[in-house]
Assembly symmetry: C2
Homo-oligomer: 363 residues x 2
């Protein structure tokens, strides 16, 4: 299949670039003796998860039980649900998986821990727990000074296996001097956290962190021994803007077709918010909804559901209805979640098509 | 099934409210002799489309060929693709439908018209065309002074049936004095457009307009004889903020579970941008990503992919992990597109569950 035969809008992945991204992170993890547990929320595909495992990933990370179910098709040795699993039915489903693979959950409340323990007991399973600790993002996670007491309470619950600590340093974004200073602060926080836990006899076996922006600085974080990056497989405009990847490491784009040129100075693409999401750049920069690879001077000013608005006044050229362009998206994780399938392309030829199987698995 | 048995995050629709919304618009259209061709992009479900047809809708409107394919399950007498269909394969698929129902396309370029004519000729079909005219939104559509020439060129092409005009008055938002003045301006524009077309012997049989915000003012637009509202079936926070519906007319909410209360003054819900989209209010107001029905003082300040951040400092109460809340979403159309199914609820009981069958049908 040729690219010209693909119906748009469609997500294209340059397989050479993706494979280099996968190999590079696998090598980095090996070089620094870090367990790699890639977060599958980015690609939502067992096909890609399997490649990550084949390259040495210890297991997979997911956000939802439904994603864990789909990722079983990749036959991972272990799955971490890096999200508190709350609610009877979800826990029942999770227990259903625990017979086939090793399941762990990251959580930050006794309520969630009690529910998990109860479900595990009912099913005679043992479920791993990473206590989630907040080291700066202020999203989920107990505070560091509560971590030891919380870990003790969790470790005491039947059918739970205390494994260590999870944290998500998503507050470390831009890989400039500020970012590097934040990595240093994180390192101190992790070191002190490990000390606190060790002092109560709960030295963490796993200290799990790592997001794509700060990925390659993970080995500077004393005590961290696992990383859970997601976006690195494809990268996107965010990763690029944050200085966390180079342009030639961006593997995914959305192929769009020009469907209207009726307004002077404007082009309408057949991809809007249902194709790209409405995510702006994570830096907060007012820089539109994507970058047109063939015309970087075009400004992707606005989105409606099925309409992408390009201001082409600075392009020095016009576009024709039917012409196709590749758009580098702001945030690849939410884009993948909007598409049913992905076209894997190598040197201009569609080599494979895979389904985004965990798309929409919100529960 | 009880609401408490639903796994979250999940879209709930109050069936009583939805049925009143459907009936009210059907009645309005009848009262004013307006053809109703509801846009199915909002619900993306043939089940709901069928109800619209049963209540008197003349046909359905869709944005994409893939949506048209799904909507065939509702057995409509006609489908308008209210979007330029560009590209050989999409046109082939569209021709495949033209044997079973009457197909029309709204378009604004000769390139799209030529492609459509060519495909129709190859398949020995006749396809209706509405010429898309821009009356203020500046999205797609030829300018009014180009409309007559464009209509003539389209009407001349073989296998196309010139049916009239489509316009989308999406620039009319807030239903205040400014909005009503804009409706008056629209009316003048439509009247003059019909005159221009009639002057060249192309009096439009169909003059199609109508979006949800200005819906109930459609009969004030001289010459407009068809409306294509979508959002009215459920309404949302946008429709409410724009003054286009009352609170008791909002049928859809997202049921979420509190999964973390670890940060003081903050609650994390299990719905983020993959549940709600990142759409802010259409008015541009900085008023968060949704409204918590049970706690209107909570501010939905931030979204990550699977995390909804509520600032609860003004709530005067706390929340527990496991507690559930209903969230009125900013923009229901993009929310439906993120979910696989919808729970139809009546008086606290789940009466039906339907699939969002056209979800992700972007091509």
């Amino acid at each position: 299949m040729k690219i010209s035969e693909i119906e748009t809008p469609a997500v294209l992945v340059d397989l050479d670039v993706m494979e280099r991204n996968l190999a590079r992170v696998a090598q980095y993890a090996r070089d620094h003796s870090l367990r790699l547990r890639p977060h599958t929320k980015t690609h939502k595909s067992p096909v890609i998860a399997r490649r990550q495992l084949d390259l040495g990933a210890a297991g997979l990370a997911v956000a939802k039980t439904g994603e864990a179910e789909v990722m079983m098709h990749a036959a991972p040795k272990e799955i971490l649900v890096a999200y508190p699993v709350v609610g009877h039915r979800k826990l029942e489903r999770l227990m259903g998986l625990a017979g086939s693979t090793r399941i762990s959950v990251a959580l930050d409340s006794l309520a969630a821990a009690h529910q998990l323990s109860g479900a595990a007991r009912a099913h005679r399973r043992e479920i791993g727990v990473l206590i989630e600790v907040d080291l700066g993002l202020k999203r989920v996670g107990v505070q560091p000074d509560e971590a030891a007491a919380f870990a003790k309470a969790v470790a005491r619950l039947p059918h739970l296996r205390y494994e260590g600590v999870a944290t998500y340093p998503g507050h470390i974004k831009m890989m400039d001097e500020t970012g590097l200073a934040a990595v240093k602060t994180l390192s101190n926080s992790v070191e002190s956290l490990v000390d606190r836990l060790s002092a109560v006899g709960l030295r963490p076996e796993i200290v799990s962190g790592g997001s794509t922006p700060a990925l390659y600085h993970s080995h500077h974080v004393a005590g961290m021994n696992e990383i859970r990056p997601g976006t690195y497989v494809f990268n996107d405009r965010n990763t690029l803007e944050l200085g966390a990847c180079a342009r030639h490491e961006c593997a995914a784009t959305v192929l769009c077709t020009v469907v209207s040129t009726a307004q002077p100075g404007q082009v309408i693409l057949d991809g809007g918010s249902k194709t790209f999401s409405s995510d702006r750049l994570a830096t907060g920069a007012d820089a539109g909804f994507g970058e047109v690879v063939e015309a970087p001077q075009a400004v992707f000013t606005k989105l409606m559901e099925e309409h992408g608005f390009l201001d082409i006044r600075r392009c020095g050229r016009t576009f024709d209805v039917g012409e196709q362009v590749h758009v580098l998206m702001n945030h690849v994780c939410v884009v993948m979640n909007l598409h049913e399938q992905v076209y894997g392309v190598r040197q201009g030829v569609v080599e494979e098509v895979w389904k985004v199987e965990a798309r929409g698995k919100l529960q």
